[in-house]
Symmetry: C3
Subunit: 274 residues, 3 copies
């Protein structure tokens, strides 16, 4: 089933509109191409309504916010939503400033997101519970572990109920859940926290997977998370064997997505579905 | 002659002002350095007039438009034009939104471009004929083939007559033409459509080649297109032999431009001049 | 001592707020991660005051200026300054336009910088003396050589006295000085001038090194400059042995920072302290 989800992306080549930050936009575009999607990148409010309508999926990323891009997010989010296109929210650094927190609240109020993906600190901020964070990284005290796994799943399910969105929490253990079912995913590698934009790239990927698999939302997001983690593992191996560092590893990660097949994804996936 | 054009870029190191998008700006800067040019990147209207005047060549790219950058384009375009500096237009996604279409029209009305480079759907939009496109990629139905080659050349020549610009159409077959003569170029590799910004990078390259060869406009643009295609071929070979993907291929492409010599360019060029 | 400075960055993982350009932001974020820091990238005036307060160090880079980002720089600079956080200024292309020159003047008037890092032409512009420059590259006539070394050191010391900042001048010979002591550094490789953003990345690195070593300002900036030069040398060797070009070299440079140890830094450093 995971493999089929990826293959649908490659065969349908969905058009993914990314309203995203200027730091990782290039990597987001290249990973969207790597998985078989067709990216457009633009934060102009002048074309946001139209782009939201014409795309197959929309990815909204809060990495480098400004009032104009927020307007574009709202316009594109509403038009994409009214057309039934899936919409992903990546609340980058939601707890890092008051402006980000308030913007996240506004986006959640005005747009019906299909999926929300972030690290645990970002997702806690979204849920209104947490306000600790250090920049754009998760607070170590928040980390999802085997000890707090049950509690975190319950928290994520509740947030899914409240928002109607699939919730994806990235970390050493990844959680992807809707109100009923949960994927607990153990793919990935710690080096990914040393590559800027791994989260952003994953959100672009999730938008592409969702757009090509509109009727399997939970599975599509889980497949994106597993793809990213698996490709991160492979990229790390290549990095180690060639004595590279985080910059080359970023390229290898996208390279691995470029070559990933459905059957490899099936074989490499490490998850439990509850 | 192609080789001499490249060598002029390396010896003169022209200063190329790029008003471009935030997605591929880094790659555009690095490829400009790779070919021997000196890039400046800025979209501030506060300095646009001055930058247009002080540069040796100007590259205007519509990738991530907003009203401020459009003002910068108009100011820089006019000052560069009045100083006789070559100006390239890359109408990224010209048909993807009304805002882009209208902006392209305005730029063409107010600036005398030396060259216009885009995919076939973008160039058709520029010509006022086409309005089909899917995001920033060319519509498959528009693709230049051996079957419609004659018709496409006539179309491009007409557009060159109308605009006074060298017209470069990128695709499996590249066409570079003025009102009299046409280069039909068969360098390149399909992987280039899987690397974000190949078009953007080519436009930066064209601006550098033009700035260093102001009296040979058609040849300069053709040499840039051939250089890009040839380096794309070499990068693809390296990607394949090392089992990499599109992200590494992007680096290899710029690397190849860095090492390209005039004689290699002569030897590797696959074109017909009519 | 140099080694200890790097190790402090790795152990303390300072949060570095970068208000920087959209051309090299990704590389700046990845090199900050590579050295052990935690980068945030944002130019929103809406959150600038708060980000300046919450960070451990601030890096202000003039690469792609616009009035909104200038406001963010002023707000963040003041709040970071009032909290005692180190602040780096990278006056990219300070002499390339009137707008940049005036903005640099305003920033220097209103913010107490801990360090100012640029090429010789940029630093001369900052000092009010020079106005020759070609885009963002140093004017060849300005280059620091063994012949004009004494004069340049005196000039840089005077600027340090005037501004209270550590002055770092990048070039074939690097100078890092306060009003009393000077590091004359001979690490580095000419290929670094062919990689966009080497200066920007160094300034991000300097901000991280300063934030983790607040009581050794001169040494921290010198250690950052030496780290960058040494990693540039190693990256060049790798580039040559693998027949790559400037784009791969950029990745290798960041990779080398990722792996750099304190003892390697000590061993590879080529400098004289006066």
């Amino acid at each position: 089933m995971l493999g089929e989800i990826l293959e649908n992306v490659r065969s349908k080549s969905p058009l993914i509109q990314n309203i995203t930050n200027y730091v990782t936009a290039n990597d987001c575009a290249n990973i969207t191409l790597a998985c078989g999607g067709s990216p457009t990148m633009s934060d102009g409010e002048e074309e946001a309504e139209e782009m939201g309508r014409l795309c197959d999926g929309l990815n909204i990323n809060m990495g480098t916010l400004h009032p104009r891009s927020v307007k574009a997010m709202l316009l594109a989010g509403k038009s994409a939503g009214s057309c039934g296109h899936p919409i992903v929210l990546d609340p980058v650094g939601a707890g890092a400033s008051t402006y980000r927190r308030k913007t996240a609240e506004q986006l959640l109020r005005e747009i019906a997101f299909t999926a929300i993906r972030g690290n645990i600190s970002e997702i806690k901020t979204i849920a209104g519970g947490g306000n600790s964070s250090k920049g754009v990284d998760a607070d170590a005290a928040d980390a999802v572990t085997d000890e707090n796994l049950e509690k975190t799943i319950t928290f994520a399910k509740d947030l899914s109920k409240k928002t109607g969105a699939v919730i994806a929490i990235s970390g050493a253990i990844d959680i992807v859940t809707d109100k009923n079912h949960t994927y607990i995913i153990r793919n990935g590698n710690p080096v990914m926290a040393k590559i800027t934009g791994c989260g952003c790239m994953l959100s672009s990927l999730a938008a592409a997977y969702l757009a090509a698999n509109p009727d399997r939302r939970l599975e599509a997001v889980a497949a994106a998370v597993i793809s990213m983690g698996l490709c991160g593992e492979k990229a790390f191996e290549k990095m180690e064997s060639e004595r590279r560092g985080n910059a080359s590893c970023r390229n290898y990660l996208i390279d691995e997505v470029y070559h990933l097949t459905g059957s490899e994804l099936e074989r490499g996936a490490k998850y439990e579905l509850r």
